[in-house]
Symmetry: C2
Subunit: 344 residues, 2 copies
Amino acid sequence: MTQDASTNRRIVLAARPHGMPTAQDFRLEQAPIPAPAEGEVLLRTLYLSLDPYMRNLMDEAGTEYAPGLALGQPMMGGTVSRVIDSRHPGFGPGELVLASAGWQDYAVAAGDTLTALGDLPQPSLALGGLGMTGFTAYVGLLDIGQPQPGETVAVAAATGAVGAVVGQIARLKGARVVGIAGGADKCRYAVEELGFDACLDHRAPNLAGRLAAACPDGIDVYFENVGGAVLDAVLPRLNHHARVPVCGLIAHYNDDAAPAAPDRRPQLMASVLQKRIRMQGFVILDHYAERFDAFRADMQAWLDAGRITLREDRVEGLEHAPAAFIGLLEGRNFGKLVVRVAPD
Amino acid sequence: MTQDASTNRRIVLAARPHGMPTAQDFRLEQAPIPAPAEGEVLLRTLYLSLDPYMRNLMDEAGTEYAPGLALGQPMMGGTVSRVIDSRHPGFGPGELVLASAGWQDYAVAAGDTLTALGDLPQPSLALGGLGMTGFTAYVGLLDIGQPQPGETVAVAAATGAVGAVVGQIARLKGARVVGIAGGADKCRYAVEELGFDACLDHRAPNLAGRLAAACPDGIDVYFENVGGAVLDAVLPRLNHHARVPVCGLIAHYNDDAAPAAPDRRPQLMASVLQKRIRMQGFVILDHYAERFDAFRADMQAWLDAGRITLREDRVEGLEHAPAAFIGLLEGRNFGKLVVRVAPD
């Protein structure tokens, strides 16, 4: 189904996945293009952000910060959109905005929920390095992880949208950075292009042993994006007074139930106690008011100075969003995953 | 074996326990009274502190902050001791000191490791409310838990040496306090004598349901002394931005291996993430230099004003230390457990 100018394609939640989502859990529908009411604008989606948290919204329970989607509801997601029609005094046709228009060609949104993007040279960066994922890296690493010069920072999902920025900021702050990623090509990229001190392939054997060798002084900050076997390998290497910002747990988003034995919680708690670990979860939505301006200023300066590299994994066409999203959960993306829904 | 003036009785680690220690894991020995070298003092033990952390020292691995005891070595422990003979200029015979003389009648110690106690009216309090356990409560609650007026603080092991002080300080700071303890008598005491708002018996059925009823506004600070089933009940009640000082995990100290399925770690990590929980372990040894003076001043003022009640569970005679210690691990103590080894 391709797009024409008179209909709105949208991808809705067709069924609740058990474990890893499949193509059948999504449905591409056609609907009339909606009309904005007073105070609203009509948006054309240019870029759609695909992010791991969306998996949680496919479950009935949702998360503590967002309820689960109802069946038949369009998949949610952040977008860079163009204003087509406006009934809000703050926005005029043609403007680019940051929105949450979801997995669809068109959406109406209250003007108050939108952020004007001006003439950003690469607008899709507003979904990644200059937007939510970059901001997530910044707050989690600097406010919670608080790396000090000479400390060792370990980063899970090291070439993902968040992890790649975490590692680069940690290097800028004088830390030694060890990434963990899935595949030799990603690890090579993390070292050669992102400047990590080391990067380990979690798909190769003996991650724990290789991590110990790569972190001779232990780990002072572990930026947690993954959980599961990566956390198993990291835990014994954490130093006294280590900080663990908990940003994501992609290894578990497809869990239908608690994994079978053994119960690793007592061991985790004992490590927290004996090593005086500070482990802190965060949800980036909480931090925009107080920290986004500082982030944007710092990140823009780093980008302008060529000190941060951002890699985008771009998929063409809304209809490919489900497959791309499943690939993200399988670790097949390489960089920030965005769907180009319409030309800039 | 009773004490005479010419021998030193000491209780040594006879065997490494599997699970709960038994009497056979300890051995009461006689040895000559040791003689102090230059810079050392000879100490007579008056009071011996018994504390859950000692269980960890009976395992070969020990802890991150103290190695395991060798077989045949005297059990370690904090003491209030009297100086019998001194070859250190700072101490003279007859003085009372805080020491780590272990489970024995006599010990020599380097003078630099001792703290003079002056003429404390109730010297054994230097092992409890005015000493390590009170200080543990103070630092864990105030520095990590940071309760705000009107918040709900849940305290595990609520009538134990640490928990009872945690709950009373939390009340003084304007929080609502819900204790969890083992037995109706302890729960009654926590409410009627310590002033807790509620206290739940974890041995009675449906702790989770009763905890939910007792915490209608959720839990903002959970002071973790226990782990296991108590943590299971608390976790769903934790509020967003809850703080969890991790002080002890007595439910697990006798674990020989990771408990059988299910693996509760992913659920814990998901709660930390989604609820933005800050969980932080601490070991009180780290905090003496910067915080002990403030603690002593505050605690002495609270005691003088009758705002804190301290309960001691006193056992008479060194030879009863093993049974008392096993009782502590089983939750049979009621208040700070001390052994009176010799008259003041």
